[in-house]
Symmetry: C2
Subunit: 289 residues, 2 copies
């Protein structure tokens, strides 16, 4: 069985053909231009293969509400050419196969739960920290959607004593994303995050705020594993700092199995940056059933 | 069909007999003394009826991990006589029926979802604010347990500018519970919360912190409804303040159906303080299946 997989990002579109084991057989990358240019390019790619279904893990915000008039649309994205764009419909029409559809971060989560470091787990959180902060939640083996997909990047967290950086979220100022995204780091220090690798105080503060958010997620969702991806998390020194901070902030209140093994509780993605496209394969498989 | 239901609290034990419609036919209340005194009293009550199963909605912390050696126990409660006490086993042994078991707040949540204001909903949060702060989460129609039941009462939230009350949580100081529980209000003002009803600033600050926690839960769980119970929420002026604060704090970032009707999104319990015992009936029904 072959499945189409699309990891739709604001900069590039990763198109692939995979099988039911998550093996990626073919792959093509297109820059994200306008829908009228880029969607036909992608459809041409998939038409060369006999696929049973296609899965789309998509940048957002997107409409995931079953029965909504704009289900399958990219909605209020700041990327103007793609605002209010039906992304599911054109593939369904042109390829004549079922289309699985979810957020990009849920795609990555699904890839890790199906074939990666969270295989077999039921309660998992995946957070990407990069240009923005996005989150995906699996609870009881099911991706959480609720009335909208989780926007946990905008969680409200306490400020560290003495830090008065206003944060850069246009909606909330110093919410999580406003404090820890790559652009927030750059605004705070006047230097790109990637060039601050040798300044420990940068990453200590970054770890502090990320850890507060993780504590809240642990207290709310009781995950078995938390996966942290995205460009900011390429600063790998963050993992040790975060594990220490989370342990300290929980303050012995919770003693449960996963917390006793922080090295395997708070982890980077395990699929060599293929977690998103592999998750899109899984979305296709689920649409096919 | 008759079911046994127990709402086990640190002060009193509410025992009842209910049917599959949640109708409570008989009820007895026993003060919570020691396990060796109170458990036999309760067993005697249930023995008078032909029940198919019993459901226990229990104060905690409790062990809900299937297969755990101490499943069905009350664990590290500050109520010393009940620490490390098997509460499920004695009822199972004496009554010879299946026993459903969950937290007290999950019981209340289940009552409201089955027979109350959240009937038919799949994604619901129930929070009690009283001596402590407890929370129950239903996601996708399933009570969230994860590696432990949610302890969202200890969520970390930003401090309001100018407020430097240290909070009273022995673990975290100014976490949610440390800031908004009844004892925290009393510590802050030196007067019992119930006697502060006419001081608007008390309830404005209280609403502010509760709202921050609700914003984080909305961003993480996307609930369709949030139910706020417990002694502190008997100050009904809090509801209007909280609805206003949550709307402002979300800052137009999320526009989804339930948020456009705050009056039915953030609500008090609807079952006249029977939500817990009715939820225990439902726990019994689920154990019986």
């Amino acid at each position: 069985m072959l499945y189409g997989a699309l990891e739709a990002g604001g900069t590039k579109m990763v198109c692939a053909i995979g099988d039911e084991h998550g093996h990626i057989a073919e792959r093509a990358v297109f820059p994200t231009r306008t829908p009228s240019v880029t969607i036909p390019q992608m459809i041409d790619f998939y038409k060369s293969y006999e696929i049973e279904a296609i899965g789309i893990a998509c940048f957002g915000p997107i409409d995931l509400i079953p029965g909504s008039a704009t289900y399958g649309y990219i909605t209020s994205t700041p990327k103007l050419e793609w605002r209010n764009t039906d992304i599911v419909g054109p593939f369904a029409d042109a390829l004549g196969v079922p289309v699985g559809f979810d957020t990009d971060v849920n795609g990555s989560l699904l890839g890790e739960v199906t074939w990666g470091c969270a295989r077999g787990l039921q309660d998992v959180v995946y957070i990407t920290i990069g240009t923005g902060v996005g989150g995906g939640v699996m609870s009881g083996g099911r991706l959480v959607h609720g009335m909208l997909h989780p926007e946990l990047g905008h969680m409200l967290i306490p400020r560290k004593a003495g830090d008065d950086h206003p944060g850069i979220c246009p909606y909330h100022g110093d919410c999580l994303e406003g404090l820890v995204s790559g652009p927030s780091i750059e605004r705070r220090y006047g230097i790109k995050a990637a060039e601050l690798a040798e300044r420990p105080e940068v990453w200590e503060l970054e770890a502090y705020y990320i850890s507060e958010a993780l504590v809240n997620l642990i207290l709310t969702l009781s995950p078995q594993k938390i996966i942290l991806g995205g460009g900011v998390m390429h600063q790998e020194q963050l993992f040790a700092l975060i594990r220490t901070d989370v342990t300290r902030m929980l303050g012995d209140y919770i003693q449960a199995g996963p917390l006793n093994d922080m090295e395997s509780f708070i982890v980077p993605p395990s699929l060599n940056d293929d977690q998103g496209i592999m998750g899109a394969v899984k979305l296709a498989m689920e649409a096919h059933i």
